[in-house]
């Protein structure tokens, strides 16, 4: 090959490499940016007066005097709207029966739209569920509710052969000629004064418990549950994995039995996680009865079995990569085999072992399938360390799924779901980062 072609090939290979790295970086950006930008809306958003009321009533947070002042201000604006509604109710009573019945249904819609926007109408019985006790706590949601108050969504079914199209009908038009017609422009132009939106940073999203099944409040029980499960899995899997790796590399004789064990280990690493989940249910809960019901313990054990093969493999690799000369030097100085392993080989292999361990920790934190049947519940309070043996816990991965599919008001609380995703991704990223830092520090120490 002449020099020219070689140079050309070399350059094109470099270009290919750089290109693929750029594409990978862009993919990462495409994946991470929406997670970040959506997730942050759980913490930072335009909160209304309703949000501040909620914070004060449920968590006793916020400046009481200032809150009272704001409530008085917003109530002043709201009072006029409620007065208009009361006036219309009185007007309806004077109407003929037919007319009354015709307006009643439409008025009920208006009233429930007002309740959704501003919370319960004063003077009426307070609802039991927290989600109906407050109006919209977030300005973006309030704007959607305002639109629903002003316009009725209808579908044009006039042509039965084609799919209907939706269109908006102004609610004001259907109340033409009555006193209620003034309500709509009034609410539209005074909505700011009624809800007093301001930019809010709600860190409580991370440290609070959820209120009324995730409608309000934070995700602390989920974060704590995820940490418990992952750390618990590590407590079981890490020592066991390292011991197994030492056995494989130092004690086991090469032979049929040993290679069988190795291939069994590799097979386990490839088993889908849902299989481990069902196994955990059948073995730890139904057979061994480690706990009465789902529990953190059972979930941790299941996750431990799942990550064990990975830990064994990475620890094995790390131990094998310790130079032979270390071992020989130690043995030649009269050290025993066990002493050599503990004082020379394991410390030298530690960076590799730890990296494998922390990456497995990240995997344990993110897995959903193993904990569905063994540990995770959709609602529960944050549990104490003493309860891990008997109590199940909410966990980020499972609750993200639950909010995405099963929650009855899933579309109302997307921001909670995004916030959970961000929290989970951050936890896993931080774990992986700490693995890198730990590794760097230990290998530096070993060299120096």
């Amino acid at each position: 090959m002449n020099l020219g072609t070689r140079k050309l090939l070399d350059r094109s290979f470099t270009a290919l490499g750089v290109g693929s790295i750029v594409i990978m970086g862009m993919m990462l950006l495409v994946v991470l940016m929406p997670i970040l930008s959506n997730g942050i809306t759980a913490n930072v958003f335009r909160g209304t007066i309703e949000h501040r009321k909620l914070l004060y009533n449920e968590f006793r947070r916020g400046d009481h005097a200032e809150l009272q002042r704001q409530i008085a201000e917003s109530d002043a604006a709201r009072r006029k709207a409620y007065a208009m509604m009361a006036a219309f109710e009185a007007e309806m009573k004077l109407m003929s029966e037919e007319k009354h019945a015709g307006y009643q249904e439409k008025y009920d819609q208006v009233k429930s739209a007002m309740k959704a926007l501003l919370g319960p109408v004063p003077g009426e019985e307070l609802p039991e569920l927290t989600r109906f006790k407050y109006g919209q706590t977030r300005w973006s949601k309030a704007e959607e509710r305002l639109h629903e108050l002003l316009y009725e969504k209808q579908w044009d079914y006039s042509n039965p052969d084609v799919e209907a199209k939706e269109y908006d009908v102004s609610r004001a038009a259907s109340f033409q000629g009555t006193s209620l017609v003034k309500l709509f422009p009034y609410v539209e132009s005074n909505i700011d004064r009624m809800l007093l939106p301001e930019w809010t940073v709600y860190w409580g999203f991370i440290t609070d418990s959820s209120i009324d099944s995730h409608m309000f409040g934070g995700i602390w029980p989920e974060i704590q549950g995820t940490i418990f499960l992952a750390v618990g899995a590590m407590l079981f899997a890490f020592p066991l994995g390292v011991i197994a790796a030492v056995y494989f590399t130092e004690y086991a004789r090469e032979g049929f039995f040993n290679s069988l064990l190795r291939s069994a280990n590799s097979t386990l690493a490839g088993v889908p996680s849902i299989v481990f989940g069902l196994f955990g249910l059948a073995f730890f809960i139904n057979t061994l009865k480690v706990s009465e019901s789902k529990s953190v313990l059972a979930g941790s054990l299941t996750l431990a079995i799942m990550i064990l093969p990975t830990i064994i493999r990475s620890a094995e690799e790390a131990i094998l990569s310790v130079p032979k000369t270390y071992r020989e030097a130690s043995l030649s100085l009269g050290s025993s085999k066990w002493n050599t392993i503990v004082t020379v080989i394991l410390p030298a292999a530690l960076p590799g072992i730890l990296t494998g361990g922390v990456i497995s920790l990240g995997r344990a934190a993110g897995e959903t399938a193993p904990i569905i049947f063994t540990a995770a519940v959709s609602v529960g309070s944050a549990i104490g360390l003493a309860d891990v043996f008997s109590s199940p816990t909410p966990a980020l991965s499972w609750n993200i799924y639950n909010l995405a599919s099963e929650h009855e008001a899933a579309s109302e609380i997307r921001h909670v779901q995004y916030g959970m995703v961000l929290a989970l991704v951050t936890i896993v990223l931080m774990l992986n980062l700490s693995a890198i830092i730990l590794r760097a520090r230990i290998s530096k120490k070993l060299k120096g």
Partner: protein, 273 residues
């Protein structure tokens, strides 16, 4: 110096985590089962934790799983959207479990379609034909010329069983092309995004994103479910092992209390008591 800081921090973190859970170290109540009963169970749980400070955990894994958990004694209350099956009762007997059901609420099984669908009413026979695969186009039931996307629930679901009992017939299989979704919420979002889709939901889940269809001319509302004129309604149950006692009893009897009734009503379900 640095090491000490690290140690101090981890000790603080541990203390915080332990202290957090201290207040609620009593024996809790564990619920497992139906996704349809889920909203009621979760709201009751929140109410109960607030009032009695007893931890309550709720899993929504389907009525079938609820029954299994109860039989394996791994939950205190199974929430179910159907009654126990003979096989389950037999399995419970061999394990020494004595299932006692109490009605939580009544629920209508709403037949839902995409809001753009002009079809307003279907008869039970028409719905059955759609699910048996005899009717495949909306035109055949008075709608636009558009293929029907049939959505059903998984076999573990009590809603699916009730639907089959009430509409299709217990032994008749649902058409093979039917798509299976694993929860009420999933059916709702699938139907709300798919023109031509038809599905069934607990009435409490059917919001404005989907269109409820009248069945045999009766529109599903709490009123028509309660007075029995809506043909597709069913009771929802809390099932316990033996007569409940203590906090479990109080929990199971919440639907009879004024607060419980209010919660059920606000969630869009129908009070039995």
């Amino acid at each position: 110096m640095k090491k000490q800081w690290g140690r101090a921090l981890s000790v603080i973190a541990l203390v915080v985590i332990v202290a957090n859970g201290r207040a609620e170290a009593k024996n809790g109540i564990v619920l497992d089962g139906s996704t349809t009963v889920g909203p009621i169970a979760k709201s009751f749980a929140a109410f109960f934790m607030n009032k009695y400070h007893v931890p309550v955990t709720v899993s929504e894994s389907g009525s079938g799983n609820g029954a299994k958990s109860l039989i394996n004694k791994s939950c205190d209350i199974a929430s179910m959207s159907r009654s126990m099956k003979p096989q389950e009762l037999a399995a419970a007997k061999t394990k020494g479990v004595n299932p006692v059901s109490s009605v939580v609420a009544l629920d209508g099984l709403a037949i839902v379609v995409h809001p753009s669908n002009p079809v307003k009413t279907l008869t039970i026979a028409q719905v059955a034909d759609i699910y048996k695969g005899r009717v495949t186009n909306w035109r055949q039931v008075g709608g636009p010329n558009f293929p029907i996307v049939v959505i059903q629930r998984e076999s573990n679901s009590g809603t699916q069983e009730s639907f089959k009992d009430l509409v299709v017939g217990k032994e008749t299989p649902v058409v093979g092309s039917a798509e299976t979704q694993a929860s009420n919420g999933a059916v709702k979002s699938r139907v709300s995004l798919t023109r031509g889709a038809i599905g069934f939901l607990g009435l409490g889940f059917a919001d404005a994103s989907v269109k409820k269809v009248a069945v045999n001319g009766i529109y599903p509302t709490p009123l028509t479910v309660k007075n029995g004129s809506y043909p597709l309604s069913r009771p929802l149950f809390f099932v316990t092992d033996g007569q409940p006692s203590g906090f479990v009893k109080q929990f199971v009897e919440l639907p009879k209390s004024a607060d419980g009734k209010k919660i059920i009503k606000e969630l869009g379900f129908v009070n039995k008591y």
